[in-house]
Symmetry: C2
Subunit: 696 residues, 2 copies
């Protein structure tokens, strides 16, 4: 089936520019503070053909196009009213036999893209593309040898599968939803849509000459606070005939406080805006609270899975690498939507030259590397690594160019060292133990990816760098007496502070021997006096580390307390930050602003991942689930059941105290794995039902 | 006076994309084959203010804007029908005192730019701009220290000095011109506009239902050859009411052959399209042929000085570095229009990363370096070097990353080694002597520019690299017996062929001692059996070298023969190539196409430069003509007179066999120089008239 194709990464960059420049703060435009790249404005698509018979081929392009068959430019009639982005197709006839078809497209405002439809000649990801074909002619008119010096990639694509739906016309889906409750206020009306949502407000049959002010709130308090709420829209109208009005920009809200004067309208509703995705993963258990937590997590992830995986829907509506990494992992247990992952990875990376860390944050650069190996592990998509390895390399070069005399990375001028939003004091100066661990993991990722694409030199290089760094990390940060990594080292002086971060990641990355692992577990992870994490962001890793260490019961208790705590506060989606010690409207504040906190934040949805990977217990053991493992764990539950999607199907798991049931549905019959339970393991093959009696 | 400002280089890149993607070949779109960059889509402008009194400031932007005063975001009302590129201004009031004003603009389709108009607060090149302000906030809402890590440049500007004429609306000027002669043909009408020209064809009161085909010709033969002419336009009409029709794209032509059916119109004229420029330089002599050559040269340069200095007006209408370098030099003796020079330099360089040579041509990369030092020499514009030194550096890094084991540069995969269009055979393989000389000169340029901006380390580095290369060049290519540089060295074997190129440039760059200079003069420059140059492009350097060696009479003879030869063939502008041995329509052919040759090519206009620099004899001795020299030379002429523009005025020179008159008009009274004549020299001060009696 033909589809619109483009230079890989370019659509992703431009869509990201559009989305990330939609943020407003109290009506004012609020753009990102990092470099935004742009698409290549002139690209050449090519395809080698071998036709059995002559074929008529229709070519649609976004942008002005030059079409060559076997090197011969085809004359196309130029029309007086020609626009740059013309969708009127060109029809050419290609004779039987071997041919080379080249289509070069220029488009400054939108991504150059093509849609080619013939009987056998169709545009798809097998076409090659370059931004620099270097096809000059010599004095005799002979074209240069184009095979030399030009780098070709396979084209990028998504789901633009009809000629009249080109990439530039991308829109999310919408669905009408009613107001759930409406309440008169002194000067206006407070609308309640029943739960956290996202979209456009619609006024039916609006007329009059006056103003319409909308104050959005994730909480009632925010909507009613016309002076301090984070988002609002103000409109002026002068229309005599009643006409529906839909707000031009979509917003996040549960509540909308409407003030109007001299205007009338029949009713208000909303258009819920979303990315259409199938909920492939599921989870149910004997605990209704956990089931609700899973449901709200799924809704939270869906709300923040849009053009890209974004942080929060109220703000920033930007793509943040550290946030996205977690969304990817949750996605593998809910939607398994690979295009959303690769769109986000490509958007975050942008283009060369690298002039700062991703999102300007050092840790976020490292998470970007890690996300690529995760993606490969879950999907087995080797082509993605082959295509984008050069972008990985140049980002790593940037990192390596900024190491200090110890070979470690510390925040230099212009670097944001983030780690986490924490309620205790920690230094961001000097060499942070977490940053070095992430740097180490990134070097390992480079080595792995170099190996995947067969680049032996790089594999050796990055392995060596990683090994050297590992030794230094233990020397610098491991404190034998504390049984933990300390937080940082400034001017060659290791600090006394133990923060959870490096210790958590050392467990996750399997960097500790058995003794050190137990040390970390006792002195940090299970230590009631350890510094407390108050974001779901770092709780993600903390709880995963505890699951890895077999603390399934403890983790369920934490989930009930923490995510259950948000539900008790009335959450209909999970938050950016939650400190159980805070009260009432304290929960709404952040960044020194009374409604600064996002109440629907992607990183709030991590139970999706924990339940799927550590209770249903499903994970790939080789890339793309070619082999897999299933380790169902009840914790303190009576029973659990659910589904984990895979690239070729799904894995269904049920466990109670007597039985385990497993069914691996797959289009790939040679997929196989092991079910681990208690001290046993049995081999599992695809498309066969397994029912095992267990004693728990 | 306020003016529209932008990120330096960005307008230049986008205007270039628009212009260079306007080429067509027989109606088909014909884009460039090198990478086209794009503007930064999100940039931040800033200015520190100190106001005596409160002031109202009007802000116009191209793109959606975010305005901050002293770090506080100003809420701007969002309108329902808001477009991305809104020109409706924002008015803010800034209180007296010290303030910081920041305006951040997003624009994907056009270059983000601003126009700020207050009593004292105005947008100009003193504003700073960045594509990455890195202004994040911490958990308390405090903004990061923006002074760290962000690179600011001074803004770019040109002549967009009113709010309603923003950069996106740039258009060249037009002027109506009549048909000079009209001739009925079998199936249509041949229009003659009297000389080579450029613009839009206009049909007055056109009506009917039918087709209109226009075949353009720089020659009568080309216009009438409907099968093989290079440019044409075909239109279809169905209009009952008579209406003027102007062709949508401007074209180069002297002749237009019009075929139409079922259409009627009153008359045809054209709109001559041009960049409005003042002819500041002039030249007259006792030889009317030379005067005509100067006039046609000036017209040729004007036709090819448009959005940028382009190669030819029929084709390619692209910006080529080697061609542009010559246009810059001619420009210093005709228009002295610096913005046209910097626009072209910035367009050619584009953005990082460097993925190929400029225009993909190795020699063209080197000419780009050389052009910057020339620009500095003629204008004294140090800011330009300061702002763009990083782009010089990264291009030189690209070159240095491609040197071979001998430290020399040879054509690698994807490199075009151009040198010249020549009628003899020469190798482009291995180490070419000309390429190494240009590389050497480029390294010297880097050292000079490093010194100008006070970068001592780089100055030392590049000097050292240049010196090492110089030694190798003489070792590899100087053939003592031949008294000349040989053409190249392949696989460590020096060739036997002597081509003019390296020898000419060695003279121009003063790299030869007196003995070697004489060798080159006799064995190459004045040797009637040496290989013949048949492009004005390389004749430029050949004749300049002869002028440097004092061969003024010989050069005048060459100019009369060569440029006079084109005039005899009916030229109304100078050509891309001219081989006096060819006959009739052979003069029109090139690249294996009967009308492939451009009959109006920028590099054809070099007499402008030769007359100004070597006959009027005026050149800067220190940057920007702070000091200068005047060496008037008659050659075989009775008298010469003319004007050479400078950044602060002009230098008028007259010489005949008895008298020299010099007048240096300047706004800079401390400008001074020397007049050299015969064996004497006298000091010349600005704004004083000098009349010197000489014996010649």
């Amino acid at each position: 089936m033909p589809t619109w194709i483009w230079y890989p990464g370019d659509f992703e960059i431009c869509l990201g520019n559009a989305m990330q420049n939609r943020r407003t703060e109290r009506g004012a435009f609020f753009p990102p503070f990092w470099k935004m790249d742009s698409h290549y404005v002139l690209v050449e698509f090519s395809k080698e053909l071998d036709l059995q018979e002559s074929e008529e081929v229709v070519i649609f392009t976004e942008g002005r196009a030059n079409v060559k068959l076997d090197g011969q430019l085809l004359g196309l009639r130029v029309k007086p009213a020609m626009t740059e982005s013309t969708l009127s197709p060109t029809v050419i006839t290609i004779p039987a036999g071997k041919h080379k078809l080249n289509i070069k497209v220029h488009n400054q405002a939108n991504v150059p893209s093509i849609y080619v439809e013939g009987k056998t000649v169709i545009s798809d990801e097998t076409w090659l593309v370059t931004y620099e074909d270097k096809e000059w002619i010599d004095e005799s008119g002979k074209a240069s040898d184009t095979s030399s010096g030009t780098v070709y990639l396979n084209t990028g694509r998504w789901n633009f599968n009809t000629p009249d739906n080109p990439p530039s016309k991308f829109k999310l889906a919408v669905q009408p939803l009613p107001v759930v409750n409406s309440e008169k206020q002194a000067k206006g009306t407070l609308l309640d849509f029943g739960k956290e949502t996202f979209g456009y407000v619609k006024f039916h049959n609006l007329k009059g000459n006056g103003n319409l002010n909308l104050y959005y709130g994730e909480s009632k308090e925010e909507a009613l606070d016309t002076e301090k709420g984070e988002t609002l829209d103000k409109f002026a109208f002068d229309q005599k005939e009643p006409k529906d009005f839909i707000t031009p920009d979509s917003r996040a809200f549960r509540y909308v406080y409407v003030e109007d004067n001299q205007l009338s309208y029949d009713s208000v509703s909303m258009l819920y805006e979303y990315l259409p995705l199938e909920y492939k993963g599921s989870f149910r258990s004997s605990d209704e609270l956990l089931n609700k937590i899973w449901d709200i997590s799924a809704y939270t992830l869906h709300l923040t899975t849009r053009e890209f995986f974004i942080d929060g829907i109220k703000r920033d509506r930007w793509v943040w690498s550290g946030d996205a990494l977690q969304s990817y992992l949750m996605n593998y247990y809910l939607f398994f939507d690979s295009p959303s992952v690769t769109r986000t990875i490509l958007n975050l990376r942008g283009k060369d030259p690298v002039t700062s860390h991703i999102n300007t944050i050092m840790d976020y650069t490292f998470y970007w590397f890690i996300s690529i190996y995760d993606y490969y592990t879950y999907t087995g998509d080797k082509t993605f690594i082959e295509q984008h390895y050069p972008r990985m390399q140049s980002l790593m070069d940037y990192c390596l160019s900024r190491t200090n005399a110890n070979g470690m990375m510390e925040g230099l001028a212009g670097d944001w060292v983030f780690i986490d939003w924490a309620d205790f004091k920690m230094s961001k100066a000097g060499e942070l133990s977490l940053e070095q661990l992430l740097f180490y993991r990134s070097l390992e990722t480079m080595a792995l990816c170099a190996d995947i694409i067969g680049n032996t030199d790089d594999n050796i290089l990055y392995k060596k760098l990683a090994e050297e760094l590992q030794v230094k990390i233990f020397d610098a940060f491991w404190d034998k007496e504390k049984g933990a990594f300390v937080h940082n080292r400034e001017e060659n002086l290791s600090s006394e502070q133990v923060t959870p971060y490096a210790n958590i990641f050392a467990v996750l990355f399997d960097y500790l021997d058995a003794e050190k692992t137990q040390d970390v577990k006792q002195s940090v992870l299970l230590n009631p006096n350890a510094l407390k994490i108050t974001t779901p962001y770092m709780r993600f890793y903390e709880l995963e580390a505890l699951c890895k260490l077999g603390e399934h019961k403890h983790v369920l208790k934490e989930i009930r307390d923490y995510w259950g705590g948000m539900l008790k506060e009335g959450a209909t989606s999970f938050w950016e930050k939650y400190n159980p010690d805070e009260k009432g409207t304290e929960h709404l504040a952040m960044y020194g602003r009374p409604y600064g906190k996002s109440l629907c934040h992607g990183w709030g949805a991590s139970p999706l991942y924990l339940f799927g990977k550590y209770y249903l217990g499903v994970q790939p053991e080789t890339p793309g689930y070619k082999t897999f493992s299933i380790r169902p764990e009840l914790g303190d539950l009576e029973w659990i059941e659910g589904t984990v999607p895979t690239p070729t199907g799904e894995i269904k798991v049920y466990r109670d105290k007597e039985q385990i049931k497993v069914f691996v549905k797959s289009q790939s019959p040679d997929m196989e794995g092991y079910l681990y339970y208690n001290a046993d393991k049995i081999k599992i093959q695809a498309n066969k039902e397994y029912i095992i009696q267990v004693k728990s």
